[in-house]
Symmetry: C2
Subunit: 370 residues, 2 copies
């Protein structure tokens, strides 16, 4: 029985988002998911694919921007054309995940999809895969299942999931109901969540029957649902590109949380499987320091094969993609990102502010740098 | 009478010293004096030359390394071959200034030379020129005259000159005797000097009859004196290069202060003219911030035509010689020096430590970067 269920599982990897807090390493032309940010030897998207394979076999679909087609295929040469969804322009997560759901639904309405962002770091992978398996079995009972992350600190950067009672699903002993999704809290509220317990980070991982996803999408965003369906109907035909380029630009921009997850939770259709693995969304350069401990030497983490760092009473993170010497003197927790056309110098404390700088560059029309 | 004296004056510009505290801007191949560090439009050596011209006319000799011949001539195209002394290797200031003295002595033993380093910043130039004129008139009475700088803070980076009584030289009302030269003091001693008064910074500016310079050099460093004389005798002959390359490498390395100034002071042969102009030896990148106030915008001083700086809650100095964007976020008093093969990130407070980094690179054999 459960063998049958797993054969219905299809992995979906939305690979969008530039990761502007990682500028100038992460660019519109080479976003976060195309980089190896953990010195593992794999880009984040390749690692995401490999992490899903033991559960999804090669039933994996990628949704990304048209501009990244070649880069993604270079990373995932096994990806077949029908499983590579190329967005003419970004339309937020409901359109990306919804289109994958619609295409998969028309192939097989019994499909259970699992959507996992291309730019997260997870280990151990076996623990993640066990959580996905629990989520698939729970989804098969007619639930949209999110995998929630055990909070390690009172983060104000993530939304939270308030968990409910254990559901007692066969093979999914940790699956629970969901009381509610809550928006990114202030720090006091985040502290209360951790003190009370029963709150998990929303990492945007959803495992659900495609039929149920589409049912909620149709109820909440009928225009989006219908547009995606018309693209999906053309997917396996010569009209695919024509329909895509005609319909996609008019679709509403909305996050999957609002379009599906929250209303579904209110309807009692959402469950959660706690993820007890280490999880990092590599949100800024401070995270890159944390994730590359093995590259740290006397307090300085160096990323990039050809850069050479000389530190004198200095600590921090240096990324360099060219053969240069970087000398750091008398400066702590510094972040230096040295690329061909842009250099960033900041500190771990201010790593989150990089996003504003990118916005400033955008406002000033320096799109060449973004 | 004094017109006669001034026509005997010859300016000498020793252009040596890499300025390793200004690495990686200042290099062995492009030392400090070849840069425009004040955004004046002139390199330091050109500004030094122009500052001397009103006193020395075009009677100016430059002593520099062989490697800098073309760069110096590009800066000073009016320099004639006989006035460009090229050192096969650095031999410290006594050899450089002593050779100039010897060459000038053989041209005219009545010459009064004035030696002024190529990498200092002085203004107003008219006040400097008045001090040089006082020094020339004082030198003509048979003195080695140093121009001492009024200390603006208890620096531990300079030697000091303890001044004596006014000498009452005609046309040089501020000329005084010298009690002694003192080595770079510790901070307490420097504070005492400033509190007591009568102490000036030794900026290495010497104005003296060449005959008197050579007399003291011969007394204290006879081998050096004789070697320099043998080179000077060949200067105006076809043997110049042969003698230079044979004799120079064997000369002792010693500073002019030890070889001439201090023993001459002990003999009562030294005078001082206080320089009441603004003086800076551009000792580190903090100085470059001070000297380029006009280039400061919201706390960030930017040097380099093509670099573009975006600062968000950041202050400091950025030098960039390439068309790059440098983004500074949440970091104060930072110094960023961005060159083709090396990048320095430090703070104003630690600007002096750059010298040690250069030494480390040297010790590790990275001469390509020096």
């Amino acid at each position: 029985m459960s063998e049958d269920i797993f054969s219905r599982f299809y992995g979906v990897i939305p690979a969008g988002g530039v990761g502007s807090r990682l500028w100038p390493l992460s660019r519109a032309s080479a976003p976060k998911f195309l980089h190896d940010l953990t010195s593992s030897g794999s880009t984040l998207i390749r690692a995401t694919y490999d992490r899903l394979c033991p559960v999804a076999d090669e039933r994996i679909m990628v949704v990304t921007g048209q501009a990244h087609r070649n880069a993604v295929l270079a990373q995932l040469p096994e990806l077949v054309d029908l499983n590579l969804v190329l967005e003419p322009e970004p339309k937020d997560s409901a359109a990306a995940i919804g289109l994958a759901a619609a295409i998969l639904y028309l192939r097989d309405p019994e499909t259970i999809m699992g959507s996992f962002a291309a730019d997260q770091v997870i280990e151990p992978v076996e623990v993640f895969q066990d959580a996905v398996r629990e989520a698939v079995l729970t989804a098969a009972t007619g639930k949209i299942v999110t995998i929630g992350i055990h909070p390690t600190h009172p983060s104000t950067g993530f939304g939270y999931i308030q968990t409910g009672e254990l559901l007692g699903v066969q093979g999914a002993p940790s699956a629970r109901g969901v009381e509610q999704f809550v928006e990114k809290p202030d720090e006091d509220t985040a502290r209360q969540y951790l003190a009370r317990g029963g709150f998990l980070w929303n990492a945007g991982m959803f495992v659900a029957p495609v039929a149920l996803m589409l049912q909620h999408l149709k109820a909440n965003e009928p225009a989006l649902h219908d547009g995606l369906m018309s693209i999906a109907l053309a997917w396996n035909t010569p009209e695919r590109d024509e329909v895509m380029s005609r319909v996609w630009p008019g679709l509403p921009k909305i996050a999957i949380d609002y379009a599906v997850a929250e209303p579904a939770a209110a309807a009692g259709d959402v469950a959660v499987v706690p993820g007890v693995f280490n999880w990092d969304d590599v949100g800024d350069f401070a995270a890159i320091g944390r994730l590359n401990k093995a590259r740290e030497e006397e307090g300085v983490t160096t990323l990039g094969e050809s850069v050479r760092v000389y530190a004198d009473q200095a600590t921090g993170v240096v990324y360099g993609d060219r053969p240069r010497v970087v000398a750091l003197i008398g400066i702590d927790d510094v972040i230096v990102v040295d690329t061909a056309d842009a250099l960033l110098v900041t500190t771990k404390e201010h790593a989150q502010r990089v996003k504003q700088t990118v916005q400033t560059l955008k406002d000033q029309g320096r799109v060449d740098l973004l």
